[in-house]
């Protein structure tokens, strides 16, 4: 009797979910469930994070002990990668930093924000039971793998010891003429194809996000009741939708130039590697314009979602409404808009029309404005809050602090005359690592423990989290803050052995210090991985709303079943009603709570 009743309930729930249980493959591999897909993205990107980090350590090692036998390189690659007598070859160094950048940008930061958290959070936060196009969503994940495959292939193709060696920007002529760089032939081409796959993947994602956010919001979830995370995802999606085609087109042009002999970027009469003089009237700057027209907005693609998530976490952690919700939204929109008209500041020294230089400088200066507003708003949010210091809070605060540094150092870049000096020195490296690693990754390191309970129904270990944060923070600043000094000292990027230039010899000890810090930081990530995996099994079980947060996602069971919500949510107010006087009993007021009249 009771059994049959239970069965009945079971069936009823299944029916409510509108599906019947798919098999293992359908559920965990080619799943169309946005949560699974999000987690798949998360796993993949964390894996890639380790890969990229290892490559970075290789770069750091060469800078600290130039031409010293690189640890593990022989054990791991069996003496491949053109090393003789244990010492690596300069072209291998160029491959190292090229692939580091490619992996970190295209396989870690973009997918971890839009892919992992975007997928997982959007439907939950807007109270939808899944994405608008589940199949498209699944594809957007599985298109990552061709990209990873192509990048990997680019490493191993061409005699097992050539990878793209033209920097992640792969400026022509170097990248367009096959003989110009060690990545002769295939690797660079494969890299470009991989890039296209990444583009396709994020394009699918962005279309999906836009549709979902516009059409599938829960009743009562007006645009200005959406959490900032959703806003940031929405804006990011728009950015991607508009910027990506340009990169894809440029990529195809470069592939055509390399393989089919088109002449878009290579001018005539260049003699490269004792070859015949090149023919044709291409223009190298064309690539730079096209590339940066995507890649500058991409910087914000890599940043905005983190901003959104940090806003949400911060509000919850300080038990306070966001200070100036609408200004936050507007500033994000402003950043996105301006982001399209500042790409030229990557080209101040490239010899483009100086008038352009001025306009781009002004627009670039202006884009600092919304960023400033956001910073002030965050500080205002913390102002007068009741803060519980755990991993999440620490990471969010680190995010703000690092973002301040990265943003401020950007002002030198924005002002053309100083950029003339700082362009392509380590100052740039410091700047974008502070923004991309310092801001974005700290944001993610906060977001992972914050939404972990919702993903796996368990909490992550807070002690380990704090330890991981501490080591990462110290290692990070130890590694990247000195880079400002290097940049001021005129230390150019992408030098395998800068110390053959007399004016840089004295910077070696500093580089040794930075490398040690980098090693520390690299090892610290193992803690994160361990914590992530172990908490899955031994973590403390989490309730539906472990942080007493307001968002819709916290009304769903953790982890949410298929179809997310067992009770269809209705939204009554904005997401940041913490410590609202309307709820005397508790210091939070969920978006779904009706006010109890009394």
């Amino acid at each position: 009797m009771s059994n049959s009743h239970a069965v009945a309930v079971q069936e009823h729930q299944d029916h409510h979910a509108g599906h019947h249980e798919p098999g293992f493959i359908g559920k965990y591999v080619f799943s169309k469930d946005h949560k699974i897909i999000g987690i798949q993205f998360l796993m993949t990107t964390l894996l890639m994070l380790l890969v990229g980090g290892a490559l970075a350590l290789g770069v750091r090692f060469q800078l600290a002990w130039p031409w010293r036998a690189m640890p593990l390189i022989h054990t791991l690659t069996g003496g491949l990668f053109g090393s003789e007598g244990g010492q690596i070859s300069p072209e291998f160094y160029t491959m190292l930093f090229t692939m580091h950048a490619s992996v970190m940008i295209f396989l870690v930061i973009i997918p971890i924000l839009a892919g992992a958290f975007g997928n997982f959070l959007i439907p939950l936060m807007i109270g939808a039971d899944d994405m608008a196009f589940p199949t498209l969503n699944m594809l957007s994940y599985w298109f990552m793998w061709p990209a990873i495959f192509c990048f990997g292939l680019s490493f191993t193709i061409g005699g097992l010891n050539a990878a793209p060696a033209n920097g992640w920007t792969s400026y022509p002529v170097l990248s367009a003429v096959v003989d110009a760089s060690p990545s002769a032939g295939a690797p660079q081409t494969w890299w470009l194809i991989g890039l296209t796959f990444v583009g396709v993947s994020s394009m699918m994602g962005s279309v999906n996000y836009m549709t979902t956010i516009i059409n599938m919001r829960a009743p009562g979830m007006t645009l200005f009741r959406m959490p900032l995370t959703i806003w940031s995802m929405f804006i990011t999606a728009i950015l991607q939708a508009f910027a990506l085609p340009v990169l894809t087109a440029a990529g195809f042009m470069l592939v055509a130039e390399r393989t089919l002999g088109f002449k878009f970027f290579v001018p005539g009469n260049l003699v490269i590697n004792d070859g015949a003089p090149t023919i044709g009237g291409g223009q190298p700057l064309l690539w730079q314009h096209l590339f940066w027209f995507y890649s500058h907005p991409a910087v914000y693609i890599m940043l905005l979602p983190a901003m959104g998530m940090v806003s949400d976490m911060l509000a919850c952690k300080v038990r306070k409404p966001i200070f100036g919700y609408k200004p936050m939204v507007y500033s994000m929109a402003a950043i996105a808009g301006l982001g399209f008209i500042v790409w030229g500041h990557h080209m101040f020294t490239s010899g483009m029309n100086p008038a352009l230089g001025m306009t781009f400088m002004i627009s670039t200066m202006m884009i600092a404005l919304p960023s400033a507003v956001k910073v002030f708003n965050w500080i205002g949010t913390i102002w007068g809050g009741k803060i519980s210091f755990d991993t999440v809070t620490l990471n969010c605060v680190a995010f703000i602090s690092m973002f301040i540094v990265g943003g401020l150092s950007g002002i030198w870049m924005a002002s053309v005359p100083t950029d003339i000096y700082f362009h392509d020195t380590y100052y740039i490296v410091a700047h974008f690592h502070y923004v991309l690693f310092g801001a974005t990754l700290f944001g993610c390191f906060g977001a992972i423990p914050f939404w972990y309970p919702k993903m796996f129904g368990r909490k992550m270990n807070d002690t380990l989290g704090k330890l991981h944060f501490l080591l990462t923070f110290i290692g990070f600043n130890g590694t990247f803050f000195p880079m400002h000094m290097l940049g001021i000292a005129g230390f150019p990027r992408r030098y395998a052995d800068p110390y053959i230039h007399p004016y840089m010899e004295h910077l070696l000890p500093m580089n040794r210090f930075m490398t040690l810090c980098a090693i520390l930081m690299g090892l610290a990530q193992l803690i994160l991985i361990y914590n992530f995996v172990s908490s899955w099994f031994i973590g403390e079980r989490a309730s539906r709303n472990p942080w007493n947060a307001n968002g819709l996602e916290w009304t769903a069971p953790s982890p949410p079943g298929h179809g997310n919500f067992d009770i269809a949510p209705i939204c009554y107010r904005g997401p940041y009603e913490y410590s609202s006087p309307l709820n005397p009993s508790d210091d939070f007021l969920m978006q779904t709570d009706q006010i109890v009249a009394r």
Binding site: P71, N273, D274, I527
Partner: protein, 442 residues
């Protein structure tokens, strides 16, 4: 807690292990040696080892004409195992700057090898620390000479600036080299292309220094113009040393080649072969050493430098016209390789030639002329104004008069008068600047 601290320990061990498992650079045998029977290979390897050592444990063969670097001096005083030595060096700074290289340099006492090596030297106080108990052998006012720091200095610089193209053994096959259309020089034949010396003579020190400083325009050999002179010289000496090492290897191969190729010695006992080789080679290395010394000393002899007898003929229209006539004449036949208009597209670049050292009757797949290293060489396109061996009149003169060693570019010194060579030189210099008629078909 435990589990991952263990994991970290594993990582630590891995890293440390990785650092310890650094491969030291090693010299490799050349292809002829590899073609010999194992016993012969071992013999060659051992001889080379004893004569030149390894990159990390260099051996100074004092009779070779190489500046190994030598500080001489006297022991002034000995106190608690430290010998205080006044070394006769240019300036204490020089010694100080060279200290990293002086570490490990060999120490001779009273002209005899003490087997000690320098552990430390303080240029100010003159305190010389050596490995082992130096107080025992370093008695007061004994003559001391420290040998080999120059070679180590050159070795370090070579490993830093040159190795990744030219290879540890100077075989022109470093890791980076495989991307080059123009292969880096393989020193081991003792043949260098752009020299100031007569066709049969080795390059002089100055030639090597000049190439290091100016680079080879049009190739990936960059200019090291701004390296301090002493560093350039040290690199040059190391290169010469590597060349001599390679030559010795070749000589040994020739010595053994007839009898110890696999099919010549296939039905022989390993043991008898071993003894035979030993007896065959006994004293040979010393003999070859004297040959090397003679050859490389000849290169420094002023008499072996190619110097024109007459001064350059003024480069006027007549001279250029005469030069042009010679260039396309059947007497000199420059055009057969360089083409009628000097674009380097002469008919002989269309031949399919035998690969040097290839099988009998085997033709190469690509058309073109070969150098003795087995690489296709393009006759220079003289209209580009890029001259690999230098752009001074005397350089072009030398290319014409003495040819380019190891390439089909032959020496015209015997068959042309100086004036004629100068005329051709003037014509060659004029080529980049005149408007060029299209090349007729031959």
């Amino acid at each position: 807690m435990r589990s991952y601290s263990h994991a970290l320990l594993v990582v630590a061990v891995l890293m440390a292990g990785g650092c310890q498992s650094q491969r030291a650079p090693e010299f490799v045998l050349n292809s002829q040696t590899k073609a010999l029977v194992p016993a012969a290979q071992d013999a060659v390897r051992n001889e080379l080892q004893s004569a030149f050592g390894t990159p990390t444990k260099l051996t100074v063969w004092e009779s070779l004409p190489v500046d190994f670097g030598k500080f001489e001096g006297k022991v002034t005083s000995v106190s608690d195992g430290r010998a205080f030595v006044k070394l006769a060096v240019a300036s204490p700074n020089a010694a100080a700057r060279r200290l990293p290289e002086m570490k490990g340099a060999a120490v001779k006492i009273k002209g005899a090898d003490s087997g000690l090596v320098v552990a430390s030297y303080n240029a100010e106080t003159g305190a010389l620390g050596t490995t082992g108990s130096d107080a025992a052998v370093l008695t007061a006012d004994a003559d001391v000479s420290v040998i080999g720091d120059g070679l180590q200095f050159g070795r370090d610089l070579y490993l830093r600036h040159c190795m990744h193209c030219h290879g540890v053994s100077g075989d022109g096959d470093g890791p980076t080299a495989k991307y080059f259309a123009v292969r880096p020089r393989d020193y081991r034949k003792g043949t260098f292309k752009f020299t100031s010396t007569k066709p049969t003579i080795r390059p002089s020190r100055d030639d090597i220094k000049r190439i290091i400083k100016l680079g080879v325009p049009g190739t990936y050999m960059p200019s090291f113009m701004l390296l301090p002179d002493d560093e350039v010289i040290a690199i040059g000496e190391y290169v010469r040393w590597l060349a001599m090492r390679g030559e010795l290897e070749n000589k040994l191969d020739v010595e053994l080649g007839n009898d110890y190729s696999p099919d010549a010695a296939k039905d022989r006992q390993l043991k008898e072969v071993k003894q035979e080789i030993e007896s065959k080679l006994s004293g040979k290395v010393t003999e070859f050493g004297t040959e090397l010394t003679e050859d490389w000393n000849n290169a420094e002899d002023e008499g072996n430098v190619v110097t024109p007898v007459t001064a350059r003929v003024p480069s006027d229209a007549d001279s250029i016209e005469r030069g042009r006539k010679l260039f396309i004449s059947d007497k000199v036949k420059c055009f057969s390789c360089h083409g009628e208009t000097g674009r380097g597209n002469g008919v002989s670049t269309e031949d399919f030639n035998d690969i040097p050292g290839g099988k009998p009757g085997e033709k190469s797949k690509v058309a073109g002329l070969f150098d003795i290293w087995g690489n296709v060489v393009k006759p220079r396109d003289l209209t580009t104004g890029i001259y690999r061996g230098g752009r001074r009149p005397v350089d072009i003169y030398r290319r014409i008069a003495a040819g380019i060693k190891g390439t089909p570019m032959q020496a015209f010194g015997g068959s042309l008068k100086d004036e004629e060579i100068w005329d051709i030189t003037n014509y060659v210099f004029s080529l980049p600047y005149q408007n060029k008629p299209a090349a007729k078909h031959h």
